[in-house]
């Protein structure tokens, strides 16, 4: 059973690795010090279980677990945390188990047993369901690995067929999430300008009219202009006036 240990504190990782060394059938395939490092390493290492700290800088464990669900074969997630104020949130993202630090060897063994029994399917089923906290990143699967886009770098989101294209500072990626869900989750950050398009509010610079009577929204990034639907126009006018 391949285990990946994720914690921002080196000593906490050290202890988990030491405990895992004493458990038959468990093999540590890697360690990661942050959520981003986990998502970078996971596709290649293909762990069966991820022992995931909840409180970590930049991206916390709860969000990292949500992104893991995008993998083809997501690992089982066992959360480890120092204090159980997060327990309910952890079960929201369908963790296999939840253990508190300092971790006991027998408790860790139990958690691994559960992971062996249930596998990572739990995580997959939970992916994108229920009202959840805003993520700090969007996560796309590109040729087997995961690409993270900080939400602050996203300029606009455009729906195409069953995908949504994320246009961000460094290019574009596809994700398989309905535009409607993204609008719900990030409503304070993006505004809908068309049935198929959400634009970051802070990127919007103005509206302009074409000779044939259509309205375009202009973004600050390299002169991008996007079509505005008649339905979104009144709300958008008000927004632009307050810029």
């Amino acid at each position: 059973m391949k285990v990946l240990v994720v914690d921002d504190e080196p000593l906490a990782r050290e202890r988990l690795v030491a405990l895992l060394g004493e458990i038959d059938g468990a093999r540590v395939v890697g360690e990661a010090g942050s959520g981003a490092a986990l998502l970078e390493a996971a596709p290649a290492l293909q762990p069966d279980v991820v022992l995931l700290d909840i409180r970590m800088p930049a991206m916390d464990g709860l969000e990292a677990a949500r992104h893991l669900a995008a993998l083809e074969a997501p690992p089982a997630v066992v959360f480890c945390t120092a204090y159980d104020e997060h327990a309910l949130a952890a079960f929201d993202v369908h963790a296999i188990d939840y253990i508190v630090k300092p971790v006991r060897a027998e408790r860790l063994r139990q958690a691994l047993d559960r992971a062996r029994r249930y596998g990572g399917e739990q995580l997959r089923r939970a992916g994108g369901s229920g009202p959840e906290r805003q993520r700090t990143h969007l996560c796309a699967r590109v040729r087997g690995s995961l690409v993270l886009v900080p939400i602050g770098e996203v300029a606009y989101l455009q729906a195409e067929d069953k995908y949504v294209v994320i246009h961000h500072a460094r290019g574009q990626v596809l994700i398989e999430e309905p535009l409607k869900d993204l609008e719900e989750e990030f409503g304070d950050r993006f505004v809908r300008i068309h049935r198929n398009c959400l634009v970051a509010r802070d990127r919007l610079v103005g509206l302009l009219r074409t000779p044939d009577g259509r309205t375009l929204a202009r973004l600050d990034a390299d002169g991008v202009e996007l079509e505005v639907s008649r339905r979104s126009l009144p709300g958008l006018r008000k927004l632009v006036k307050n810029l």
Partner: protein, 350 residues
Amino acid sequence: MSDADDHRWLPPFCSLPTLFAVMLVAELVALIVVLAPGADGATLMRLGIVSVYLQWLGLLNAVVLCSLRGALDRLTPRSGLLIAWLVMIGVTTLAALLIQTMDRALALGLTGSGAAAARFVPANAVLCALIGAALLRYLFVIEQWRERVRAASKAQVDALQARIRPHFLFNSMNTIASLIRTRPADAERAVEDLSDLFRAALGASGARGTLGEELERVDHYLRIESLRLGPRLAVRRDLDALPRAYALPPLLLQPLVENAIHHGIEPLPEGGTLDLTGRRVDGGWEIAIGNPCPAQPVRRAGNGHAIDNIRARIGYHFGDRAALIAAPGDGCFRVIVRLPLESPMNVPAQ
């Protein structure tokens, strides 16, 4: 105020404010007695005589109650007050008897004649009972109110004292559990450091400490945190100018440092530098705690709570001669504690 005073319910009759209240009431009663309809002639002469008599009576009662206060305080407030009241009536009755006897012997006729003379002592006793009941009740209520205010602010300060984040405790325990295997000597020191912090948090190191002890406590705390955070935590110290013997309540600075790490260093993936500086400024000392802060502030529970808490405690111990200033800057956050040049706590406790 000494500890023994904390649960006293009877007002101190020998204190100036109480004596003044007694004299005021006596004078009011004298005025009423002289001006009341049916009294024989409202003359200044009569007011003078009545005043002298009543002031003497009032002071006599105050002195008797003052000397009995120790014994009365050992009773329950209800029976104590009842006895104090009976004592007042007794003293007044005896005093009235004494005055009447002297008056008769000297034949001054000040206590009336005939039926009025027969009424003198009972009337004094009844008036004393009525006025004494009102006065005792008033003093008792005032004293209880003061007591409540004292208890409330003490409770508040106590509650503010013992707060260490549970997260910190469990993370430290985890760190120690990990160190025991590989670096037992470090584990040992971490246990000692953690014990010192908790001793202070549980109030076991007393209500008064020194700045030197507090800075040491900050060092212990930082040693634990740097085990946990590794190279992510860097500390720059410039504290040599501070007077180590300066008296201040324990855990005044450590929670601010904890706050700086919790909100400033920990959320940064690459960590940062904690800046501790202490210097002499115009009319006092200034201790600044600076930390970098994340670009988008992470909402963490208890944000700003520690700062309000310390501000309340500084206010309680130092009044308005000290201050806590929070100064959010560009990409960093600074908290400044300003203390008076001489600590008001330097006076030895009674």
